[in-house]
Symmetry: C2
Subunit: 122 residues, 2 copies
């Protein structure tokens, strides 16, 4: 995990519903805690959209990726064979460092399941 992130005091990670974590040490610690508390977790990424900056440049230095994280987890379930699912939308910012892409920022957020009434009241 450490190899995926820029090592800097200004990197940031926002987990769904959480406050921002600042700095790679704190970000990596949060992932360690998360991984230590689930028996199983897998992310299936869908709706992946990538834009690189400067736009149109053959040698981009920054990339913005939005995606849906479909999360399959075995946390807190009754048996080892039971799984639960979850979903978050995510915006990640990656920068090129030593020839490879690394995370600078990740912002994931929950999707509210709203009950929408008839729209004729507007």
């Amino acid at each position: 995990m450490a190899s995926l992130w820029v090592d800097d005091a200004d990197t940031s990670c926002i987990h769904p519903g959480a406050l921002p974590l600042r700095g790679t040490a704190q970000v990596l610690r949060s992932w360690t805690v998360l991984m230590a508390n689930v028996g199983y977790i897998q992310f299936f990424l869908t709706d992946v959209e990538v834009t690189t900056f400067p736009r149109g440049d053959a040698e981009p230095t920054t990339a913005v990726i939005t995606c849906t994280e479909n999360i399959l987890s075995g946390e807190g379930l009754s048996s080892a064979e039971a799984f639960a699912g979850g979903k978050a939308v995510c915006t990640s910012i990656l920068v090129k460092e030593h020839g490879g892409w690394k995370f600078w920022s990740r912002h994931a957020s929950p999707i509210a399941e709203l009950h929408i009434d008839d729209e004729d009241s507007a």
Copy 2:
């Protein structure tokens, strides 16, 4: 509002709890609907952190801004003098275009108010 955003089919905006909106036309439409449905709304930004890319470059082309949006709104309240507050954390990506900074992406998410039990159960 239109002057604040890059006009492109790949820009994105994620409102708290919502799915991503793609493309400036759709993004601006969402802000129009939001503004049309509140009598009063004001954003107080705190915890603002700015990083520019390429890092250390005197002529940056991209900027990442994280902040807390403290939102004061008069929506759906009983009287014109009544206000409600809300809070979201936000990651924005701005790019330099024609000498000025414009939004490429905004991702805002709700902050869950969790009741944390004693931590000795871990």
